[in-house]
Point group: C2
Chain length 191, copies 2
DNA sequence: TGTACATCAGTGAACGCGCGTTCACTGATGTAC
DNA sequence: TGTACATCAGTGAACGCGCGTTCACTGATGTAC
């Protein structure tokens, strides 16, 4: 079969989208070649027409996940009319909605501990993505100077990441919502 | 060979200690039967004389990890002379020392996201360990009534867990210490 | 216009490897008589 | 006291399975002449 010239790029993008969802939902080793290709509607053999290795898929799908969540949170912040942007980010990040959709959410509460265990080369690349994510969020953070905003980025995101992780370990919505709303109120009253 | 009657219990405990370190350092799948038995100085075949399955090893080694960190933090809190116990816990938990020794540290910043992905039966058991951990920490938390202490447990531990995870993603001590100390100061000035 | 060949995304069998698990065996020590 | 047998933690080969990766092949379409 011959395909239109844009076909290959589209398929690659579809594989990446499926992988970036799978990696968040099932962990760093959860985006297996066969499973991802099945998601995409292809067989595993064709994978290497699109990627050099599974590692390339992994880093590219993480890159996509970081970009996706940064886009969403930036949109939320920019859409905040009557309140400070960081407050809108905190409310969105600590919502039950975000908590329940791990596959579309921030890679940090889904994968942070696993990301510290990958080999050095990949850890360097992941660190680069984290820095970009931080740089996109810093302008929305509370504080006067950039240094203060940066400090607050780390404090606020640390708190949100931990809260989402704990909430996800709890067995029912009520307990989850309790942790999320406690942490939300704590952060919103802290700056 | 015949062994003294306490021998078997000692070997089982050694296997559990090795596994509980490995699982924190290398992830939920990192405590492989062969690797853990090699740590213990035995060969993989003997494993099933001590455990019914790898799942039994996993839950028992997590249980041990939760108990180990709860013991440590309780000792730190009880040893706090001139300050409130929770402040001593925050200082210990957010120290570079604890951050760097993931294999002896709290299972939450090491494993929380992975723990939400295990099968339902094991998730139930892990949730039980989390509840026990919380119950041991709650008495040390700031707040008047138990309800308030419990709320603060979740807020404080969420924040600490996230901060340790982020710190562990950073490439050098300076950056790690910045996140840890920012978060430490934030928490210590919040209650 | 027709024919032969090139292209290339996708297929599916096969590979080597590491994993959890099983099992026949070992061998030092205890017990029965 | 000596002999035959039982016990049982530990050994290491072997298994089935899923994984990432390779590769000969397919077949629709483009290109050369």
């Amino acid at each position: 079969m011959r395909y239109p010239p844009e076909h290959k790029a589209e398929v690659r993008q579809k594989i990446l989208n499926d992988a970036s969802r799978r990696v968040r939902a099932e962990g760093l080793t959860g985006a297996g070649v066969a499973a991802v290709m099945r998601d995409t509607g292809l067989t595993h053999g064709g994978f290497y027409k699109h990627f050099e290795s599974k590692d390339e898929l992994l880093i590219e799908s993480l890159r996509g996940a970081f970009r996706e969540i940064a886009d969403k949170l930036a949109a939320v912040a920019e859409g905040a009319r009557s309140e400070e942007p960081w407050r809108a980010i905190v409310k969105a990040y600590l919502s039950l909605e975000y908590c329940h959709h791990i596959e579309q959410g921030c890679p940090l509460p889904a994968l942070a501990p696993e990301m510290t265990r990958v080999d050095k080369a990949m850890r360097g690349q992941i660190f680069g993505e984290l820095v970009q994510y931080k740089n996109r969020m810093v302008p929305f953070m509370p504080g006067r100077r950039t240094q203060e905003k940066e400090r607050n980025f780390f404090v606020i995101f640390s708190t949100m990441i931990g809260a989402v992780e704990i909430a996800r370990m709890l067995p029912d919505r009520t307990a989850q919502e309790k942790v999320l709303s406690s942490t939300r109120e704590f952060l919103l009253s802290s700056f």
